[in-house]
């Protein structure tokens, strides 16, 4: 767990953001150390996904600072809030992997092609090298035999596993997972979570937004509970998910969650 003595890999400090009049993030702070798996839970509209999207600057933010490995993410400087150049932003984003709820595979490229695109265009690998890396990762997610399939020929679970392979093949410092099983049929959720678990065992630093409470409890080092755009509770899974929590918002959320899922 991040402490003041070990600098955090991801350091989110007092980040705030509004969409017009609506404040979606209110001074959110969170540190994530290398190798941690941090899960963000919370009711919809609590800012979980927005926070995640700020980390690779798919969303800009109005105040505060986000640093990865000590480097400010979207702005040249948190004070002046001068946006980084397009080239700079692209280079920064290549250091964070992201897996999306709706997979967002490139439909015109094969499974291997999806993975190879970033490797060749961003990492400057030859297509033979990229192909080898793509095949390695497809093997890791159990899809070695689907390298030349187009996304439309894959099931949702298979598509999402390609999505994960595409993100990790870039060797990101941190992997962001945005409700990656929410669009899947229940029987396909397990195969995707198994891949995430094996990445966690390899020491991949991950921040994920999920509604899979059982998975969050078993796989995370810490759980963050967000409510109304702020961090309402944070700690080891056992503490945060404890039924006897004194945090009113959290208790309501968990009670509602248990009522609807069990």
């Amino acid at each position: 767990m991040a402490t003041s003595s070990t600098p955090a890999l991801l350091d989110i400090a007092e980040v705030s953001k509004s969409f017009g009049q609506v404040a979606v993030l209110r001074s959110v702070s969170l540190q994530v150390a290398k190798g941690e798996v941090v899960t963000i839970i919370g009711p919809s509209g609590s800012g979980k996904t927005t926070l995640l999207r700020c980390v690779n600057f798919l969303e800009s933010y109005d105040g505060g600072s986000i640093r990865i490995d000590g480097k400010e993410v979207g702005y040249r400087d948190a004070g002046t809030r001068q946006r980084r150049s397009e080239r700079d932003l692209a280079a920064m984003r290549a250091e964070t992997g992201m897996v999306f709820q709706s997979f967002n595979l490139f439909p015109h490229l094969t499974a291997a092609g999806n993975i190879m695109l970033g490797l060749t265009k961003v990492r400057g690998k030859s297509s033979a090298e990229a192909r080898a890396i793509a095949e390695h990762w497809l093997g890791r997610v159990g899809l070695a035999h689907k390298a030349d399939s187009l996304p439309a020929e894959l099931s949702g679970g298979q598509q999402q596993r390609v999505g994960i392979a595409r993100a990790v093949a870039m060797e990101p410092k941190i992997l962001l997972l945005d409700e990656i099983t929410s669009a899947l049929d229940p029987e396909l959720v397990g195969e995707v979570l198994a891949v995430v678990r094996s990445l966690a065992e390899d020491g991949m630093t991950m921040v994920m937004v999920t509604h899979e409470m059982a998975f969050a409890r078993d796989a995370s080092t810490r759980i963050v509970f967000m409510a109304d755009g702020g961090v309402s509770a944070v700690g080891p899974p056992k503490e945060v998910l404890a039924a006897e929590t004194t945090n009113e918002r959290l208790r309501t959320f968990l009670a509602r969650f248990r009522a609807s899922h069990f």
Partner: protein
């Protein structure tokens, strides 16, 4: 009758060549201008977007014939004298460009936002996102309306005869003027236009299949 038509064939062939030449110029020039302006309309800075929007809406709101007469008879008043051939090509190109702009805008806008986001997330720059992710997908959606537009351009090129250019249409009219064989010549003309456009439609169906993302 047949001998008269056979006698006129080389003259008709010359007209047909002009029709193809006008069509080719219009199609190629409007493709280049339309793609550039269309991309500008989607991704450009606000002043460029407004300019393209005004251009496209204005041009599409004017009949081609009016546009052609305006360029040929109107522009000289502003000091721009064009030969009838180039006036016709310019007018048809302007008209076609406005259509291509809309095809490009529609095709690019139809690509879900998640595609650019996924491309951003793996670290592609703006240019790389366009060339590797957005355009290859948009191209498929651009193709069918554009090919339709190409056949329109071939048909629409017949209007250049009204500026006295001897294209296929004008050649046919002149041969009819000499032979008074209106029916067979118009049928011949229709068949030629139809053959060109049928070939284009056929090619377009092949292309669409070629770029479908789901294999048969």
């Amino acid at each position: 009758m047949l001998s008269q038509i056979l006698y006129a064939l080389p003259f008709l062939a010359k007209g047909f060549a002009i029709t193809l030449w006008v069509s080719l110029l219009v199609v190629v020039l409007s493709l280049i201008a339309g793609v550039l302006l269309g991309v500008g309309l989607v991704y450009g800075p606000a002043p460029l977007r407004w300019a393209v929007r005004i251009f496209s809406d204005t041009i599409r709101g004017i009949p081609i014939l009016v546009l052609m007469f305006f360029v040929y008879y109107g522009l000289p008043a502003a000091g721009l004298h064009l030969q009838s051939f180039w006036a016709a090509v310019l007018a048809l190109t302007l008209f076609k460009t406005a259509q291509v702009v809309e095809y490009v805008r529609g095709a690019v806008a139809s690509i879900p936002k998640g595609q650019s986001e996924a491309a951003m997330a793996i670290g592609l720059t703006f240019r790389q996102r366009l060339t590797s992710v957005i355009f290859p997908q948009a191209f498929r959606r651009f193709l069918p309306p554009w090919i339709n537009g190409v056949t329109d351009a071939v048909k629409g090129s017949a209007l250049v005869s009204l500026l006295g250019i001897t294209d296929l249409m004008q050649a046919i009219n002149q041969v009819i003027g000499r032979t008074y064989e209106a029916m067979p010549l118009y049928i011949l003309g229709a068949l030629i236009y139809f053959s060109v456009n049928y070939a284009l439609s056929y090619a377009s169906r092949r292309l669409e299949r070629r770029f479908a993302f789901i294999r048969d």
